[in-house]
């Protein structure tokens, strides 16, 4: 028994000792804290908003940036654009895509763009050959801007790119139809610097659209530093000097006069985006420029081709941290029913896209956080973008095409998903809430998006999307929100016609509907390297009738139009209102 007792005592001692050790000496076991990024909210179940119909449109086009040469030039980072415009006057929106180019050693070559004619029923035909696009001189291209520069009733094209621009006049084709003729030299647009975004707008009130061209940086193969930490990658714009942007006055006789010095444009912008719109309601078209790695510019049109750059003072040059951003895409709209135009800029990774709410008197408030834009985080690199009321509820939504410029980005991916922000009411103000994946299959995929245009390709009243990518085919997304998010909503479309076909950029339209006033703006440029359908749309929500449409024409005269029908397009001619 004594041996048993001794054994028992020793075992008990060991157990107690272990218990004491466990209790007092070992650190507490702790549950794991979450360390993985939170997935985006998926609180928007339901049917899609867009349907990818590219395969059945007949459109098969890919912008090429030449990155297969593995030269990692900043040239290849920009990508290309889309123009949505009715080139033949048949009432259907046609499409033009810039082609980009290739790099071979130190040679930079261009690739042809393509023009697709809208045949109706969402079918398109490549008409590049018969319309003269295929035979144009080649250069490495980026952007496209649309305007009827000679006021002949047909839209012309300006194409931008590496060390030149090209002005294409839309004229009758002796073989029938229309064709584009290179009139660049005749027009005097012979500058040989790297041109990116461009926008048209009548700055001096003579009816002819004038031209603003963004230039980027002084890169060339002679100034091509090696960048990247572990492995070579594309250089940031900070490695280069900015190129002076240019503004041209349309003389009305087919030629353009360089008014850059007269307009006192700032010399320091690395421009990638530009939108022309009347920001202060004075009836004159102002210019907002998105610069990559520098202050954004707001040029207020003071008349007589005199501009005052007020970006910093107005609060639209930098973000709410007092820092400039790497800005690419840009647009302007009244997103909150204030009647004033807000400015929107898509930015680089690590920054939040900027929403500048217009407070009147040439003042803006940075409202990205208040508007919920911060919810998507800061890993996106945003390019093409548009304020458009896609679901016709009367509030402008936002769409952004994303994709990195670095091939091996840190903390982000090269391919990125596009973002669709729905404009909603929250805390008694307007907010943008991403509907993750709700855009449809395309919005659930990752792309290297660049140019983006919005156009109602089938004239069903619901605006569609056309997006250009780096080295991947363009996509055409049909808006099916009429059967989903916007079911039961109505719309009204206005096609504006100026006197003698004069340019109407800078006009402001206000429609009374259901106790609200919806304000829309005639803009030049916008998005990124692209041009959207110029017709003005109003989403009406469930309202089945509208009141007066007031148009404040460029120059400041106003006209009222009554009795407009809903769910159809109306032609509004300047001078025919009350």
């Amino acid at each position: 028994m004594s041996r048993s007792l001794l054994l028992f005592g020793l075992v008990a001692l060991a157990l107690i000792g272990s218990a004491v050790a466990v209790t007092f000496l070992l650190p507490d076991r702790q549950p794991a804290a979450p360390t993985k990024p939170t997935a985006p909210s998926t609180d928007a179940d339901g049917p899609d908003i867009f349907e990818n119909i590219t395969g059945r449109t007949g459109i098969d086009f890919t912008y090429r940036n030449g990155d297969e040469a593995n030269l990692f030039t900043i040239l290849e980072s920009l990508g290309g654009g889309v123009a949505a415009f009715d080139f033949d006057g048949d009432g259907k929106i046609d499409l033009f895509f810039t082609g980009g180019g290739s790099l071979d050693g130190k040679a930079i070559s261009g690739r042809p763009g393509k023009l697709y004619r809208n045949l109706g029923d969402l079918k398109f035909q490549d008409v590049s050959q018969e319309c003269g696009i295929a035979g144009l001189p080649l250069f490495y291209t980026h952007g496209v801007a649309v305007a009827d520069y000679d006021c002949d009733g047909f839209s012309d094209l300006l194409i931008t790119g590496w060390n030149r621009v090209m002005l294409l006049h839309n004229e009758p084709n002796p073989a029938g139809g229309r064709r584009f003729v290179d009139v660049t030299a005749k027009a005097g647009l012979t500058d040989t610097r790297w041109a990116t975004a461009a926008a048209w707008g009548d700055f001096d009130g003579d009816g002819f659209p004038d031209l603003y061209i963004c230039h980027y940086v002084d890169w060339s193969f002679a100034n091509d530093p090696r960048c990247g930490i572990a492995e070579r990658d594309v250089c940031p714009p900070q490695k280069f000097l900015a190129l002076q942007h240019q503004i041209y006055r349309n003389a009305g006789n087919g030629t353009f006069e360089d008014k850059t010095a007269h307009a006192k444009l700032r010399p320091d912008g690395k421009g990638l985006g530009v939108v022309i719109v009347d920001t202060n309601g004075d009836g004159k078209a102002d210019i907002y420029v998105a610069n990559d790695g520098g202050d954004n510019f707001l040029y207020i049109n003071r008349g007589g081709f005199a501009f005052e750059e007020v970006g910093l003072h107005a609060g639209v040059a930098i973000d709410d941290n007092g820092l400039y951003n790497g800005s690419m895409g840009v647009d302007a709209a009244d997103y909150d029913g204030s009647g004033r135009v807000a400015l929107w800029v898509t930015n680089f990774q690590g920054e939040v896209h900027a929403l500048y709410r217009n407070a009147g008197e040439e003042r803006f408030h940075h409202q990205s956080q208040a508007a919920g834009i911060g919810r998507i985080g800061r890993s996106f690199v945003g390019f093409g973008t548009s304020f458009t009321d896609f679901d016709r509820d009367g509030w402008e939504d936002i769409v952004v095409a994303n994709g990195h410029v670095l091939r091996n980005p840190s903390g982000a991916t090269y391919r990125q998903r596009p973002v669709f922000f729905h404009n909603e009411d929250h805390e008694r103000r307007r907010q943008f809430r991403e509907l993750p994946g709700k855009g449809g299959a395309y919005f659930r995929s990752e792309q290297v998006g660049r140019g983006l245009a919005v156009a109602d390709l089938d004239n069903d009243g619901w605006p569609d999307l056309i997006i250009s990518h780096q080295n991947d085919p363009v996509v055409v997304l049909r808006n099916v929100a009429g059967a989903t998010l916007g079911r039961g909503n109505h719309w009204l479309r206005v096609a504006l016609k100026g006197k003698r076909n004069c340019d109407l950029v800078g006009a402001t339209l206000t429609l009374e509907v259901g106790g609200r006033k919806l304000t829309r703006f005639v803009k030049g440029g916008g998005s990124y390297l692209s041009a959207s359908d110029a017709r003005i749309d109003f989403g009406l929500g469930t309202a089945d009738r509208v009141g007066t449409l007031t148009v404040l024409w460029p120059g400041g005269t106003a006209e009222r139009f009554e009795g407009l029908s809903i769910d159809c397009e109306s032609l509004i001619r300047q001078g025919e209102g009350k």
């Binding site: 028994m1 048993s4 007792l5 028992f8 005592g9 008990a12 001692l13 107690i16 050790a21 007092f24 000496l25 650190p27 702790q30 549950p31 794991a32 804290a33 979450p34 360390t35 993985k36 990024p37 939170t38 985006p40 909210s41 900070q238 910093l312 003072h313 609060g315 709410d320 941290n321 007092g322 820092l323 400039y324 690590g350 939040v352 407070a359 003042r363 408030h365 940075h366 409202q367 956080q369 208040a370 508007a371 919920g372 834009i373 911060g374 919810r375 985080g377 800061r378 890993s379 840190s410 903390g411 982000a412 929250h426 805390e427 907010q431």
Partner: protein, 348 residues
Amino acid sequence: MSRRVRRGLAILLGLGLLISAGWFFPKQVRKSVRKSAIRNALADRDLALADRLLTEHLRHDDGDAQAHLLAAQTARRLDDVTSANRHLNRYRELGGDPEEFQMELVLRGCQSGNLSGASGAMKLCTEQPHNPAVPFMLEALTRGYLAANRPATAVEVTDVWLKRNPATGERAYVLYLRGRGFELQANIPDALTCYRDALVIRPKLHDCTFALAEVLRRESPTEALTHYEHLREAGYKPADVTVGTAGCLRQLGELDRASALIAPVVAEQPSNVAALVEAAKVDLDRLRPGDAEPRLKRALQLAPKHRDANVQFVRCLRDLGRDTEAKEQAEKLRLLDAELFKPDGKTP
């Protein structure tokens, strides 16, 4: 005597023996157990536990000079200067090694950013990698380089430290400091990787969770909120966590909630600059510059060179339509930025 009674008596006897053994457990054995526990805690860099065990040990044996040195080092690493001084002085009183005493003073200097003795300490670390004091030195050096705003060198020291294959807890801490080094160099992706790796190893390294949340507050406020919530539950720096949470909510557009959260902190801590600035940002986002102004003025009184306070004050004055003052303030900000401007051309 029945079998049952005999068994009962045996149990009672056993228990009695156990209690007696426990009561008279040799002092030396208990001391040895404590020291072993202290060693384990330090090896795992559980400094709070080590501090507790050392205090307990020294309560029984105040004459243990080596334990006082350990306690001084531990207190220093916990930033408890008073306790560190007390233990270091006691170490000297007890005749501790003057060289050890001197080294501790050097490490204290290093840790606070006075790097005059850093090269000697680094030399010792590389020449005598097996010296048990090396981890302490590497820690002091890393923290010192961070404090002296030399984050690249701090990261280099962590390279040396990680090559020693530190124990789990220590490794988590090295990764945390390494993340801080990357963060100070604006290398956010690498900072995030380090913080996340550290938290996989030691989920309750609250300093690291806080650092991660602070970075994510800008980069990914939705995720940051979850980390702040963990910290709030753990009772970690309540005011700082509330400010961070409010910042996330503001970035997510939840201005009403952000305002409700930050207002009590500002009321209770009117000298909390971070809280004042965050509250002012919420005011500005709510288009209430009049509410933001006094908060920003107070913040700038307390911290005239606080960049964010200066930035927001420009914004506030502009929103109030006081253009002349806004321009003057913008000029102040420009000068401040010039002072902070980094040689690589990046705006701070």
